[in-house]
Amino acid sequence: MADTAFREGHVDADGFRIRYVEAGDGVPLVHLHGAGGLRLTPAHDLLARQFRVVAFEMPGFGDSPVNTRTETMAEMASTLVRAIDKIGLDSFNLMGTSFGGKAALWVALQATGRVPALVLEAPAAIRQEGAAPPSGTPEEIARRLYAHPERMASIPPIDPAARAKAQPLVQRLLGPHRDADLESRLQDLSTPTLVLFGTLDGVIAPAMGRIYKDLMPNCHLVFVYDAAHAISTDRPEAFTEVVVDFLERHEAFVISRTETVIHP
């Protein structure tokens, strides 16, 4: 779990009191969480060594009141853009996980010119037919999210009440498995975008990754080997390395900087 000190803050936007946590200095990196809510992973710590990481809790998740007001992901994004403005972030890198991947796409569409680069971790904006967020007991959820839950020292805890409360909001905002409106807009979203899928993702088929690449003009697809849906928990070092490299160099991240001299 997090050993970097993430500070908690709140910001008011669109009548919601929105919680966020932040750590680190440097270029801002806004993170939007998955359908399970805001949860810090080892990757947040690693990213906070290089970036000012600001992770929002979307209204309706965690301990916030039930959110019956936000109807669409585009609306959620507009609330989030206001929250980002309130914090005073003018230009910011953006990262979205699963459900938050769809939110991040909408934020990038709305905050035109303010997002130098976008990272989508196992994004849920395009899903195979019949795909469903993990549900059931904490053990069943863990088996869907992680590649090797049996090898993990501790399974991140799940709050069933908070999940149940957010469930209708998640269903509303996720929308159809193929969202024609969003997909047509993605064709004009030229933000450098990194799409990551774990090779063992059992929630969203890794083959969905190629559709983002088909649609988006500046999209890069990377498979993280031996990771499932929760890539940043399964392989935090591998996840962070490629994310940092992409945020620093955008499409030039394809040029290797690995040194192979063994002895001078």
Binding site: T199, R210, H220, V222, F223, D226, R235, A238, E241, V242
Partner: protein, 358 residues
Amino acid sequence: MKLSFFETARYQASKPLPTEWPVPSGSYDPEAGARAYRGMIERLELVEALGFDWVSVSEHHYSPRILTPSPIVSAAFLAAHLKKIKIALLGPIIPQSNPVRVAEEIAMLDTMAQGRLIVGLLRGTSNESLTYDLNPLEARERTDEGMELVLKAWTEPQPFGWQGRHYRYRTISIWPRPLQQPYPPTFALGTSRESCDFAARHRLGCGVSYGSFESVGKATRYYRERCAHYGWQPVPEQIIYRANMLLADSDDEAQEALRKLPGQAPFTMRPGVRDAMMTLDSRNIAGEARAPIVSGALPTTFVGSPDTVVEQVRRCRDVVGAGVLDLSLHPPGSSSLDPLMRALELFGKKVLPRIRDI
């Protein structure tokens, strides 16, 4: 039963060779090497005419015993000279290869050979860890990851990056792709739990080798169990059994030939290396630990007259479930080719026609 002939490029040394592996390359005779490769084609024209379905090649380094360090080069050579027979590339050793390069070369070769390629991917024998400085403790993980990357490179239509444990590529997009779509018939080779599970999970075939029917049968049983777990059943043609066969006119003659086989591999690692390798290189059959083979001779599991061997093949089919026999008809590295050629003709006439329907 489908039949495959295991071709090792029979190098006939003009003078006695040192017996230590690696064998000093200074003792290599270029003319003898050229004869070995020419002879390979002559022999395989006969193999093709006798009705074998496949010829197989493997990857072994630093010795004349099996003179094919690059199985892809071997396979390309065979594909260019032979017209009908399928070419089974039962190398390449994945943990010491660039998996993207493997995917590219196999795709090229399958296309050039007009879809006649069969592919086996494997971890390799213990000594091969020494060839390109592969840490034996990492061999298993590199194999699994590399095999998965080969499959992804064949099938992913968009350029992609690979953020692995042992391999990292920022962008992969191979040309050509294989002629056989999505890829040639592919096998994970080995008896280990990991190899069988990988094959089952990716709906690949499984290839086992050399052990007794009972011992390799444990692996193929485990493979079929794992296939059932993943919701499918392999057909017999998805199980290859590579084995040594000593065939003679009579059982007595075959048994006599068996007694004359050396108990040791022809070229062996130094004792200190061998002993260290025994502790570092962990091997298993369907999860049950087995000692790595570091200097012993490989067992011969088919021995006898044509009648006897036909019965053994029948038993093998029952116990191992293999639908493809990949046969070495005389130990590679032997000093004369005559016994091999006699066995090949006898096999073609008296055995092959009778085991087709098994």
